[in-house]
Each structure stands twice: as structure tokens, then as C-alpha cells.
């Protein structure tokens, strides 16, 4: 594998994305708003008291961190992989002496940098207005690192294998919309998991979607006890391994089936 070529590609993509930052700032703005809506809903519901053990300030902390975590784990590239396959553009990638996944990863890294350039200052500003309460400890901070790394890996590879179904079906990107909906409902966006009705809570704990977004936030804000954290990590790791395995399976099968049309 040619890692140096991959690194050059990453640098290149990053520099080109920075040039178009206005567009990406707009995307980041759009992702932020729905989460702010539910922040206001639940703060209003909590009022001066608590709701499911969460005060207004804690809810604010949860949602502000979720805004950042959501953007860090959101894999925008998955939306374009299908187009590249349909239009035959991956032919060129297949000829290059490095794994085509570098194209996705370079865009991922470029994206995260540009999105954070916008979102970190804005969330900081919001934090000044709505005054969240976040109790940080170094243990939580330490556990947050593997939690968010796995969350990114899981969300990326899960979306990537879905996107690769474009080798067989032209409109496989609808499955990505379905994934986004599930993350909204069960990934802690609509409500922190502890506020969901019982049935949805169980689904959230079992299915992979909570582990793509809410789980790192819960770890960082100290909402979980030791047992819950451990079980969470085991399930998250399990789903991540499944996602990578599915990606490899779909990729090897799909690439064998792939043929480009025209020139």
C-alpha cells in the first residue's frame, strides 16, 4: 500500500476545500439548526427543574457537544461515492497505485477541518449565551477519545458499505437518508436517549445508531455509570468490526462486478 501518495492526496484535498469554505460553512450551519431546536424544546420542558435527571444547563451542555460530535462523525463523502461509481469516475482511482479508500479518507479529513473552523467558534459563542454546565473529569476526557474515534469509524464504514451498494443499484443513496433518519431518532438528536419512550430506548441501545453520535457525548458528559460505559464500548466495537467487515465484503464483490461505460 502506498501511504505517501495517500498523505499527499489528503493535503491536496484539504487545501482545495478551504478555498470553498463558504459552501461548507453553510452545510455545517444546516446540521446545527435541528439540534438547536431540540435543545430549546428540552430546556423549555425542564424549566427550572429537571427532566429525567437533566437540568437545563446539562441539556445545553449535552446538545452543544453533540453539535460538534455530530459534525466530526458525519461522513459527507458517503453521499458522493455512489455518484462516482455510477458515472464511472472510480475507474481512474482503481488505476492509481493506492487504495481508493484514500479518496474517501482525504475528503473526510478535509471536511472535518473546514467544518470545525466554523462550528467551534459558533458553539463557543452559543455557550456564552445559553451557559451550559459540563462536569469534565480527566477519566471522561480519556474515554471520550476512543469513543469518538470508534463513532467516526462506525458511521463512516456503515455509510460506506451502504454507498457501495451502488455497484448493484443506482439509487442506493436512499439508504443513506434512512441512516440519517435513524440517527436522528435513535442517535440522541431528537432527545437524549434517557428521554425516549421505553421501546425506542431499547432499540437505541441495541442498534448501531446511538454509537455513531450520542454515545461519545454521554461518555464525555458523565451520564453513564461504569457498567453502562463498558457495555456501550463492547457494543460499539462489535458494530464497528461488523461495519468494516461488510465494507470489505461489498467492496471486493462490487469491484469485480464493476465495469465502466463509454470513455
Amino acid at each position: 500500500m502506498n501511504h505517501r501518495g495517500g498523505w499527499e492526496l489528503i493535503k491536496n484535498t484539504w487545501q482545495s476545500w478551504i478555498q470553498h469554505r463558504g459552501f461548507f460553512f453553510l452545510l455545517a450551519f444546516g446540521w446545527m439548526l435541528p439540534l438547536l431546536v431540540y435543545l430549546f424544546i428540552w430546556s423549555d420542558a425542564a424549566g427550572e427543574g429537571t427532566i429525567a435527571g437533566l437540568t437545563q444547563e446539562k441539556l445545553a451542555g449535552y446538545y452543544l457537544i453533540l453539535i460538534l460530535v455530530n459534525q466530526l462523525t458525519y461522513a459527507t463523502t458517503n453521499w458522493t461515492v455512489g455518484d462516482h461509481i455510477r458515472l464511472g469516475q472510480i475507474s481512474r482511482w482503481l488505476l492509481q497505485p493506492m487504495s481508493p479508500i484514500y479518496h474517501a479518507i482525504s475528503q473526510e479529513i478535509a471536511g472535518k477541518v473546514v467544518f470545525m473552523l466554523f462550528s467551534v467558534p459558533i458553539t463557543g459563542l452559543l455557550a456564552l449565551i445559553i451557559r451550559p454546565q459540563i462536569n469534565l473529569s480527566w477519566q471522561q476526557g480519556l474515554l471520550f477519545v476512543p469513543a469518538i474515534t470508534l463513532a467516526w469509524g462506525l458511521r463512516f464504514f456503515w455509510g460506506y458499505w451502504l454507498a457501495l451498494l451502488a455497484f448493484w443499484a443506482t439509487r442506493a443513496d436512499s439508504l443513506l437518508a434512512l441512516q440519517d433518519t435513524m440517527i436522528f431518532l435513535l442517535g440522541g438528536h431528537l432527545a437524549p436517549i434517557s428521554l425516549l419512550p421505553r421501546g425506542m430506548q431499547i432499540l437505541a441501545l441495541v442498534l448501531p445508531f446511538r454509537y455513531m453520535s450520542a454515545f461519545p457525548v454521554e461518555v464525555l458528559t458523565g451520564q453513564l455509570d461504569r457498567g453502562e460505559t463498558l457495555v456501550g464500548f463492547i457494543i460499539q466495537l462489535g458494530w464497528t468490526i461488523t461495519a468494516v467487515a461488510l465494507y470489505r465484503l461489498v467492496w471486493t464483490r462490487g469491484v469485480r462486478r464493476y465495469e465502466a461505460i463509454g470513455g
Binding site: 453553510l26 450551519f29 424544546i41 423549555d44 445559553i130
Partner: protein, 263 residues
């Protein structure tokens, strides 16, 4: 009459183009259903925890959701596609193909507002009507003729407002062709899912009088629930007319700035 005939022709051309892609129909249906299910399920989750949000109970909030979906359907029926083709991503003002549109022997504002249709939005429209009827059944109030009239009137005002705001933001593209101003409105429109009273003071004022997306859903829903004061009705009408005139003026000013895009 002449203008209605032209709209008929635009509608026919657009639907012929759209009906050529049959698989797309099922994909669009999936997306519409996802949109509906998320909307309703969100309310279920919220009202599972609280009785009212800012004076709105479940049926009232459902009425707001109905108006929100209805406006969204009308936007994607023709307002959105028409204005996006001029001011959206790779829009005519950016690419310079607006030259050809300018040459058409027809009022510019009329032409760019009614040119493209997405007839599939009728499905969304029907779903939204279903939500509104269901909300009305839950509300269990005696519908008077006056209420139906004021609801219809306020709905018309809301559509006009939405159109005017989108037109004004499209016009801004004449001054700054690289920026997707209409996307900002699409993003902010998400805040209209819930009663505008939910948001903190400064944001509420902005969403009512500056970018009036909050007004668009809350006022018609108030008419349906029966809490709309005659004074507010008149004020909304006057505000709508004012915004429409302002947007038209802004578009005319922008048109003068247009200088094609040849290099």
C-alpha cells in the same frame, strides 16, 4: 388567462420530464414517508414527556406540523425548483445562462417564479392535509365558517411570505453570485416545525419579523386552533403585502446588477 395558460405549459413540460424516471417515484415516496414519520414520531416522543410546550398541546403542535409540511410541499412543488434553477447551486445567475432567460418575452419575475414544477410534491401535499385533518379531529373544536376562512387566508399569506422571502434571498445572488442564499432560508425553515414562542427573545423576534419563518406556521395553526386575534390577522396580512412588495423591489434592483458571466 394568458399567464395561466403559460403556467399550464410549464406544468406539462415539467411533469413529462419527471415521469420519465419511474424508479425515482418510489425513492421520493420513501423520502416523503421518512419526513412524515420523523415529524409525527418527534411529537410523540416530546409529548410523552411533557403536556404542553409554550401553551401548545399535542393537537396544536400537530396542527403546526401540518402547516409546516403543507408549506414544504408547496415550496417543493414550484417555488423551490423555480428559484433554485436561477439562484441555487450552479444556478443560471452563476453560470451566465440567465442571458437566455432574460430574452424571453415575458415578465421576468413571473417567469422565474413559475417555470419549474415537481408534481410529485402533490403526494407531500396530500400527506400534509392528512396531518391537518387528524389534528383537527384531535382538537375536537366546532369548526365555524369564520375559522375555516381565516385559516385559508392565513395559509395563503404564509405561502406568499415564503415565496417573498425566497425571492428576496434569490435576488441577493445578483450581488454575490457565489453564495447559496436560498439554502440559508431552507435551513432556517426547519425552525418553523415548532411554535415560534419556543425560542429565546432575540431569536423569536428575528423569526417573526426579519426572516418570518416562525410566523408562517404559527399563525395559520393559531387560526385553526382558534386563538388568533383579529388584530394579529390584519397585521399578518399587512406584513405579508409589505414583504412581497419589498422582495419584488429587491429583485428588480438585483436584475439591474446582472452582467452575465462570460470571461
Amino acid at each position: 388567462m394568458h399567464h395561466l395558460k403559460i403556467i399550464g405549459a410549464f406544468l406539462k413540460i415539467s411533469s413529462q420530464a419527471e415521469l420519465a424516471y419511474r424508479v425515482n417515484f418510489w425513492i421520493r415516496l420513501l423520502h416523503s414517508l421518512l419526513n412524515l414519520v420523523t415529524g409525527v414520531l418527534s411529537l410523540v416522543v416530546i409529548f410523552n414527556q411533557v403536556e404542553v410546550i409554550r401553551g401548545w398541546d399535542m393537537p396544536g403542535a400537530l396542527a403546526i406540523l401540518g402547516v409546516y409540511l403543507l408549506l414544504g410541499a408547496l415550496r417543493s412543488l414550484f417555488i423551490g425548483p423555480s428559484l433554485e434553477s436561477v439562484a441555487g447551486m450552479d444556478g443560471e445567475i452563476w453560470t451566465g445562462t440567465y442571458d437566455f432567460t432574460l430574452l424571453r418575452p415575458l415578465d421576468q419575475q413571473f417567469l422565474i417564479s413559475f417555470r419549474h414544477w415537481r408534481i410529485f410534491a402533490f403526494v407531500d401535499f396530500t400527506m400534509a392535509l392528512g396531518v391537518l385533518i387528524y389534528a383537527q379531529i384531535l382538537l375536537d373544536t366546532q369548526l365555524s365558517l369564520a375559522m375555516v376562512l381565516s385559516f385559508t387566508l392565513m395559509l395563503l399569506a404564509a405561502v406568499t411570505l415564503l415565496y417573498a422571502v425566497l425571492l428576496a434571498f434569490s435576488a441577493l445572488v445578483f450581488w454575490n453570485p457565489g453564495f447559496l442564499f436560498t439554502w440559508v432560508i431552507n435551513d432556517l425553515f426547519q425552525l418553523a416545525r415548532y411554535p415560534v414562542g419556543l425560542y429565546p427573545g432575540w431569536l423569536r423576534l428575528m423569526l417573526t419579523w426579519i426572516i418570518p419563518v416562525g410566523l408562517m406556521t404559527t399563525i395559520p395553526a393559531q387560526a385553526l386552533v382558534g386563538t388568533l386575534t383579529p388584530w394579529m390577522l390584519v397585521l399578518t396580512l399587512a406584513f405579508t403585502i409589505g414583504t412581497f412588495l419589498l422582495a419584488t423591489w429587491l429583485f428588480r434592483q438585483g436584475l439591474k446588477k446582472y452582467a452575465s458571466a462570460s470571461s
